[in-house]
Subunit: 405 residues, 2 copies
Amino acid sequence: MAISYPGFSFDITHRDPAGSKARIGTLSTPHGAIQTPNFIFCGTKAAIKGLTTEQMRDEKTDIILANTYHLMIQPGADLVAKLGGLHKMMNWHGPMLTDSGGYQIFAMGHGSVADEVKGRRTTTREKTLLKITEEGATFRSYTNGEKLFLTPEKSIDIQRKLGPDFVVQLDECTPFHVDRKYTARSMKMSHRWGDRSLTAFKEFGGISANGLPQAMYGIVQGGVYPDLRKESAEIVANQDFFATAVGGCLGATREQMHDVVGMAMAHVHPTRPVHLLGIGGIVDIFEGVALGIDTFDCVSPTRIARHGWALAPGVKGERLNMRNARFKDDDTPIDAECGCYACRTASRGYIHHLLKAEEMLGMQLLTMHNVHTMNRLMRDIRAAIITGTLAEARRKWVWQAGDSE
Amino acid sequence: MAISYPGFSFDITHRDPAGSKARIGTLSTPHGAIQTPNFIFCGTKAAIKGLTTEQMRDEKTDIILANTYHLMIQPGADLVAKLGGLHKMMNWHGPMLTDSGGYQIFAMGHGSVADEVKGRRTTTREKTLLKITEEGATFRSYTNGEKLFLTPEKSIDIQRKLGPDFVVQLDECTPFHVDRKYTARSMKMSHRWGDRSLTAFKEFGGISANGLPQAMYGIVQGGVYPDLRKESAEIVANQDFFATAVGGCLGATREQMHDVVGMAMAHVHPTRPVHLLGIGGIVDIFEGVALGIDTFDCVSPTRIARHGWALAPGVKGERLNMRNARFKDDDTPIDAECGCYACRTASRGYIHHLLKAEEMLGMQLLTMHNVHTMNRLMRDIRAAIITGTLAEARRKWVWQAGDSE
């Protein structure tokens, strides 16, 4: 029996008249509808680092996520349910997603998540990931070393208790250094885990612990291999998911990542929303959008803010280092066209001072700015899709050789 | 020639009908008027740690301060002036005070400021305070060890550039362990520094670098000695200050502090506003208000928030430790009657989780709560002065033996 996903819908309202696969959609949830393409901000431990949810809304945020892996360990899914679920606990009343927990289990077992997905490092397995079997993954808690066991069914049950709108199936996030044979075997196991996730989801009726319907993403794996990506995308399209996520190893370079995403996108379910896991670079978003990706997530915009970096359109490397002494006595805002709280109220010189003085407020102002900038980027992209001017929007946002630095 | 302090006034509008020396005043500045008694929050390095100035206003804050000592070192007074002065730089448009820098120079030379003022520790002089002479104080920068020299004239010039409404004369903040002879000699030098501060202030016309008038506080010293406190208060009352601050060593115990403040208050200028430096405990504020103190400042409300403590009326020790496991699954707000952003949107259980997870947001929510609570305390106190019910207000706010814990 098919899952109906009551309260959820995805309507593709526009396609790029200039010929790319970019599209505009309306993604509706029990917590409201958002326009896509859109960016999902990471509230890993049920908090956006440094901002209240009110500030997130003030900076025009539509959707956020939280991480099952962190929350199952601290404070635990039952406690989140007791506090009313993630929406109530965090005071976030818009759409929300949780991942399956798999990403961090495997990434923390293998090394850095981003390094693995982006192929920047090969590491041997470390102690936190103890064992992967058909049944599930055994790993150690990052807080107290306790041995934990996560299965597809447990992940779905945890996400039912956490109560987001969107839940994600458990998968094995294959590292960069594994070979084709491992990738193929792992991919097939992930799809069996997808079937088990759907069965578990149906068993509880797709209703969260706080009584609202949820919708599930399946994950396309297959590493850097075109035939495996095709096979994986087709399997997921035939499973009873509401939406599709593209995960796993996306290659060693930015160019390879674009190729790998393209391999999957040629075969995903055509009318379901598609999420690209863990990618948030401005140029990568333009590439992804042109391939038909509807949503993105990445810790980068908020994380680099805490290290003193401000995202800015048309800047080399996509960001300004606000700790640079050249901003010391600069009384202009980071970006006069931005409109975020930081750009309306603070000068570059003041932000530079706050960073040098190690004042939390410096990180907070930059987080607001980067959140606002990502949301502005996505608005610009949506407007450009409708008018067929994605190339011009990209020209404005992405620095290229010959531009000033 | 007397200083006129244009743009400033202090009008005592009510006195406690129940007989204490408590009073209500309207303290007017070029950045607006506030009602007293009131509490001044510490924005040490030109930032309230963890909150935007908009959030400070949302939590009903009337007045803040910044520290000359920190700002003269980083980013420097000239740079603050170049960025438009403290009000513009910080986006704070209400009344503001800077201190003279002396407090930190001497306290960091002698050990912890609070410990010294409150007599909790005797230390020998450390290296940061190198020399005190009639001319001024030589000390080392806390950032790079550079040798710096601060005189009364330099302090006034720095505060002119920083541009707050209220400036404070340089004084020697005598430590607890010095004897009566040292205290008397130091007090007299501080008053000569007061004269020099007033002369310097008159020379630049009492107008800040950004063109607005400023008003100056003189400081009453005299340690724990009644005759010295009397002499000091009378000297300051006869100097041409706009307002009075009570500083220096206030004794070894809470009781002695109340005695020492009383010694000074019997002799201060009767119609000038009086500030009590560095005191912010709830019971201390009730004591100070009853002695006629108009304003208080202390890092405590915002500092303890960052360590996980929530101020609350009628609670033993004046605060709740939100890291305590008993709050783990508590879905009620810190204080249902509070009305701050944290109490409107977050449960104790969520705040407990954020603190355990080391999320900045936990500190931020508690800072909002403590700021709001101090402002609510001061509103309650002002209302109680008018109705002669300070004893009842104190009974509500201050825990006493026999109350539940």
